[in-house]
């Protein structure tokens, strides 16, 4: 009897689960869509703000076109993917007159200050195709000059375009949104 129950009655009862399944999908069919039609709609900014896109430079608060970066190379040494390339700026070359003046001053026994190399880097190249977005550079920057951008919708057609000149990018950003100080005046 139990065999009959197990082999004949039970399967018929089990068919109910199929109806339940249809009910679930039927219910979902009548519900609102939950996807975002990408080109026409985008997701909310609030979710986008936390997205870690490629790395970008942070400008000085007073001069957004110049990065805070002091060319200390911490980011370059710590990067596991070796995707950053920073070229330090060289000390400005002295003109002949300046050199003479310097030599004179030295001869007079004054304390001579040779012009130092500016701390701002000359080049800041970043290869997004290599980057693993691990944030090691961001954490290890002593002056907090790096951060994640929020560019989620960026696509390129060639690998070369993934090499970014972050300095140029920063200048573009600064131009696009005028600094708050300028607004006030």
């Amino acid at each position: 009897m139990s065999a009959f129950r197990q082999n004949v009655i039970q399967p018929i009862i089990d068919l109910w689960s199929l109806i339940v399944g249809l009910k679930v999908t039927g219910k979902c069919f009548s519900q609102k869509l939950i996807t975002v039609h990408y080109p026409r709609e985008t997701i909310e900014d609030e979710d986008l703000d936390t997205y870690g896109g490629h790395v970008e430079l942070v400008g000085k608060p007073k001069d957004p076109a110049t990065p805070k970066c002091i060319s200390c190379m911490m980011c370059v040494t710590n990067c596991p993917s070796r995707c950053l390339k920073v070229v330090k700026a060289k000390a400005p070359k002295l003109t002949a007159e300046q050199q003479e003046a310097l030599a004179e001053a030295k001869a007079r026994g004054e304390k001579v200050k040779k012009p130092r190399a500016p701390k701002t880097p000359q080049k800041f190249i970043y290869d997004y195709s290599l980057c693993s977005l691990c944030a090691t550079c961001i954490e290890n920057c002593p002056v907090h000059s790096l951060r994640f951008s929020h560019t989620m919708y960026w696509a390129t057609t060639s690998r070369e375009e993934l090499k970014l000149d972050l300095l140029a990018r920063l200048r573009r950003q600064a131009r696009r949104k005028p600094r708050p100080a300028a607004k006030e005046s």
Binding site: L18, P80, S132, T136
Partner: protein, 391 residues
């Protein structure tokens, strides 16, 4: 011309096929399941000898996604290796993060602040949910139902939004640091988690109605792919595979690490040792993870310390000489990292013990004598992540 292939030679296959065909019986067919097969999820390849549709022998061939992660560990500094951990297992990367960071912390004798421990528990459990949801959808897809993966991804997207806030990424997290985590959980994140838990609780019955109770699915997974306790021991299986065989072995309880001893949760087990057992264990685990997250979010409110210890080691840290083994409970089982330091910036040796590797190894024995369709059901129930197997 056309018939010249009928014999053996030019298309007889590669090294592994030839190795496999040495023991081939008469009147059987050797088929390659993968590396491009819809249900091997990536580039797993299994050479199968079939008689009709019955599997006589199966032999997984690995290495299609082999990246030599262990060698990479020997050329990078201790801190630089962390992002690699996100790439070993894309399903549950935070477990790998934790295993590696934990091993280094053991080497250095670091005590992590309480708040950081809570954050680790919360994010790791959320990540376990994403992993189980991914598995669930993909497994049902393997069994032929297309719709559930869309529902599971609906929930998974919300989890990814939550995890994106502290980690800034959505899949391959490199979030843990030696001494803590990279970024604190903000209020909005806590809010989102609190909103997610009741929503997900209400979704679980729907999953049950649509799939778990479905008679077709039950008939597909019950008594298929038996991996019992002894097999688990011989092959070193762990995680849901072992718990599906009835052994309540969960590292969060049996080898308690971090602050898991503070939480009240159960370890679901099933005695059946079949695919259905493993399936049910994972479904029950999702509920338990929710419980842990609930308690951890409460605990986080009055946890001491910051999200990372003060003066946390830099990427160029130099752990003292020694060896350390640290294992955590990942979504697939025991995730272990064995690190050996010579006291330099660069590790001397890093061994990654991945759960999928051992779990897959048991497949060959479990699949013997089952149907081809059962092989898919068994393979899926093991919840394999190929990059983790090949490392």
């Amino acid at each position: 011309m056309k018939r010249q292939y009928a014999g053996t030679d030019p298309l007889a296959g590669d090294f592994y096929t030839r190795q496999f065909e040495k023991d081939r019986g008469e009147h059987t067919l050797v088929v390659n399941m993968g590396p491009q097969h819809p249900s091997t999820h990536g580039v797993l390849r299994i050479v199968i000898e079939i008689d009709g549709e019955y599997i006589l022998r199966a032999d997984p061939v690995l290495g299609y996604l082999h990246r030599m992660q262990e060698k990479m560990g020997e050329v990078q500094t201790w801190g630089q290796y962390i992002p690699n951990m996100g790439r070993v297992d894309y399903g549950h990367p935070l477990a790998w993060n934790w295993a590696y960071v934990g091993a280094v912390e053991k080497l250095m004798g670091i005590q992590v602040p309480e708040r950081a421990e809570y954050i680790r528990v919360i994010t790791c459990e959320l990540n376990r949910l994403t992993s189980h949801l991914l598995w669930w959808g993909a497994y049902i897809l393997d069994l032929g139902a297309f719709t559930p993966i869309m529902y599971s991804f609906d929930d998974r997207e919300m989890l990814l939004d939550i995890l994106q806030r502290p980690t800034a990424s959505r899949l391959t997290y490199g979030y843990f640091r030696v001494g803590g985590v990279r970024k604190d959980l903000d209020d909005r994140c806590i809010e989102m988690i609190k909103a997610f838990i009741p929503r997900f609780r209400s979704r679980l019955p729907m999953y049950k109605d649509l799939v778990t109770d479905n008679i077709i699915l039950r008939k597909r997974v019950e008594d298929i792919g038996i991996i019992d306790r002894d097999m688990c021991r011989r092959y070193g299986c762990s995680g849901p595979v072992l718990r599906g065989a009835g052994e309540p072995y969960d590292l969060r309880r049996c080898e308690p690490y971090s602050i898991y001893d503070r939480f009240d949760f159960e370890i679901p087990t099933e005695e059946t040792a079949c695919s259905a057992g493993r399936y049910l264990v994972r479904m029950a685990e999702m509920e338990q993870s929710l419980r842990i997250i609930e308690q951890a979010v409460e605990g986080l409110a009055h946890a001491e310390g910051g999200h990372i210890m003060p003066k946390a080691p830099k990427p160029s840290m130099k752990p003292p000489k020694g060896e350390a083994y640290f294992a955590v409970e990942g979504a697939r089982g025991k995730v272990g990292v064995y690190a050996v330091s010579e006291g330099k910036k660069v590790p001397y040796r890093i061994k990654l013990r991945s759960p999928s590797y051992s779990n897959l190894h048991a497949f060959a024995e479990a699949a013997q004598g089952t149907l081809l369709a059962d092989a898919v059901a068994t393979l899926g129930s093991l919840d394999l992540i190929i990059p983790e197997i090949d490392r």
